[in-house]
């Protein structure tokens, strides 16, 4: 996608100070390009450090290739940057260690996250990867809210959790896959025991 055609995500012009704004360009793994304001980027610790380290000028931003975010697709990245633009300038919350976490989901975030669970999964993954604390908080809260009013059996289905038996079977399979020779030795040992042999070697 060319620089001219790159979408600018929800920019509230009135809220932006008079000084010249800088927009960084990012590219998703499916080659979709986004222009994101410097202030919005501050919501992401990962991206903020990245652009600081790059030390781009306004000219560099226009002339150099967009910064590639290879692990995130365009659909997810669009949601991420929409969120960052809406919440730009807001303080980044600090974890106070309390449990359960008190997280309010604002109306904008609730609408933004009115998506299927596949995309919500990707959004959480992206928020964690890009270290966007408040986005991670609200998206995790949305997943936590799925548990409300459910029985253990219903919850197991919602979160695709294995039962104890499935867990054990998976563990056994993993062990066997890791060391097939150990399994063979065990079977041989069992066979010899059946035949009445005392010594394995």
């Amino acid at each position: 996608m060319s620089v001219e055609n790159a979408p600018v995500v929800d920019v509230d012009e009135a809220a932006i100070p008079v000084e010249k704004k800088m927009y960084y360009r990012f590219e998703s793994n499916d080659k979709k390009e986004f222009r994101v304001s410097e202030l919005a980027i501050q919501q992401s610790e990962t991206l903020n450090r990245l652009v600081e380290a790059m030390g781009y000028t306004s000219e560099d931003v226009e002339n150099k290739p967009a910064i590639a975010i290879e692990n995130i697709d365009g659909k997810t990245l669009k949601l991420v940057f929409q969120w960052c633009e809406h919440h730009k300038g807001e303080a980044i919350p600090v974890d106070d260690g309390s449990v359960p976490k008190i997280v309010e989901i604002p109306e904008f975030d609730a609408k933004l996250m009115d998506i299927d669970n596949g995309l919500l999964f990707k959004l959480i993954w992206a928020a964690d990867y890009l270290n966007i604390v408040q986005l991670l908080n609200v998206s995790c809260k949305k997943v936590a809210n799925m548990a409300q009013g459910k029985t253990p059996a219903q919850l197991r289905r919602v979160y695709l959790l294995p039962s104890d038996e499935e867990d054990e079977a998976a563990k056994r399979a993993a062990q066997e896959a890791q060391d097939p020779r150990a399994r063979e030795v065990e079977e041989e040992f069992e066979e010899r025991k059946r035949q009445g042999g005392n010594s394995f070697f």
Binding site: S98, V99, P100, K101, V103, D116, N117, G118, L120, F121, I124, W125, D128, L136, N137, C140, K141, V143, A144, M146, A147, Q148, G149, K150, T151, P152, L155, R156, R157, V158, Y159, L160, L161, P162, S163, D164, D167
Partner: protein, 336 residues
């Protein structure tokens, strides 16, 4: 929406994120989540969420109350037997309810759990494990109402699992003694008036409990006080005790009750220092002392842990005891 859209592959996320999601759940949902499998139980344990207090009330049924920072959740672990209500006195074995009803104090609806493989012991052990509780804080018996056999109680509860045993004033004497003898609780609340055989009462007092709380303490004697070898003693309804306490102080000064750190007495009348300290040298103080916060619960103090002024007397090797008078309450703190 497609059914698949309701499924969220939780364990495909990073473990730290999964833990964070659990931390965002309500307390009752955390309990539900922990009941899914051994894996989820361990996951919940790993987030380090703790309950502040666990109390078991034994009445017609058995209620386990979990207190968190901002809410309380009650678990009806044992079904109320209809025959009890009809006045049949036979005792029953304590067995877990087929459907355990749970009542969070902030939600209007009850939550029901059907866990066919869970015994009562499993429920209690599970909740204590996930919320990092080592001891049952309070085990509160309503003996007149309790119809569980002693054998079933001793089967379901470890004798060392209770921190504070509360025995009410009415009920079967033999049954009560069985419970007191069985539970090795470091703190105990017992009635004084309800022990017709005094030696049984003394047998409880000499057990070196950390904290002894006496109610109906009207007939609590100097002898009773002298043999109570506890760190903290709290007495309610101490009606005719001024002379007793005066004599107790005189015996404490040369070295009796060496373990005592705190004595609190609730009275039905207001005492004056000059009466209490008759023939005892005392000094009115003006400084402030602070009861260490970890001692407050041990001493059964419910209000501020800072005390100002008071009256000081001195005992063996210069140990100071400080007295505070609040309306109908007298506190004695021994400063080491």
């Amino acid at each position: 929406m497609d059914v698949v859209a309701f499924i969220f592959p939780l364990l495909s996320l990073k473990p730290e994120v999964v833990q964070f999601i659990i931390k965002c759940m309500d307390e009752i949902d955390i309990v539900t989540f922990s009941l899914i499998s051994r894996g989820t139980k361990n996951l919940v344990e790993s987030i380090g969420f703790t309950a502040t207090k666990i109390t078991i009330y034994v009445q017609g049924g058995l209620l386990l109350s979990l207190k968190f920072r901002t809410k309380t959740i009650d678990f009806d672990l044992v079904e109320w037997n209809d025959e009890w209500r009809e006045g049949i006195d036979d005792q029953y074995d304590m067995t877990v309810a087929d459907v355990v009803s749970v009542e969070p104090d902030d939600v209007p609806e009850m939550v029901d759990y059907e866990m066919p493989n869970f015994e009562l012991k499993d429920w209690i052990g599970h909740l204590m494990f996930i919320f990092h509780i080592r001891f049952i804080d309070y085990f509160d018996f309503e003996l007149s109402d309790c119809r569980f056999t002693f054998d079933s109680i001793s089967r379901e509860f470890n004798r060392n699992s209770v921190k504070h045993l509360i025995i009410p004033s009415t009920g079967n004497q033999f049954y009560r003694q069985q419970l007191i003898d069985y539970f090795q609780a470091p703190r105990i609340t017992i009635p004084s008036n309800d022990f017709p055989e005094r030696h049984l009462f003394h047998r409880v007092l000499i057990q070196n409990h950390d904290f002894v709380c006496i109610y109906d303490g009207g007939n609590f004697t100097l002898n009773d006080l002298m043999i109570t070898n506890s760190k903290a003693i709290r007495i309610y309804d101490g009606q005719t005790m001024m002379k007793t306490i005066n004599r107790f102080i005189k015996l404490w000064q040369p070295g009796s009750n060496l373990r005592l750190e705190c004595l609190v007495i609730y009275l039905n009348e207001v005492w004056l220092p000059q009466d209490l300290f008759k023939s005892i040298t005392y000094t009115e103080m003006n400084d402030e002392i602070e009861v260490e916060s970890d001692k407050r619960e041990e001493y059964g103090l419910f209000d501020s842990n800072v005390r100002r002024g008071g009256y000081a007397i001195w005992g063996l090797r210069g140990i100071q005891a400080r007295f505070f008078f609040h309306d109908n309450r007298i506190e004695m703190f021994i400063r080491f």
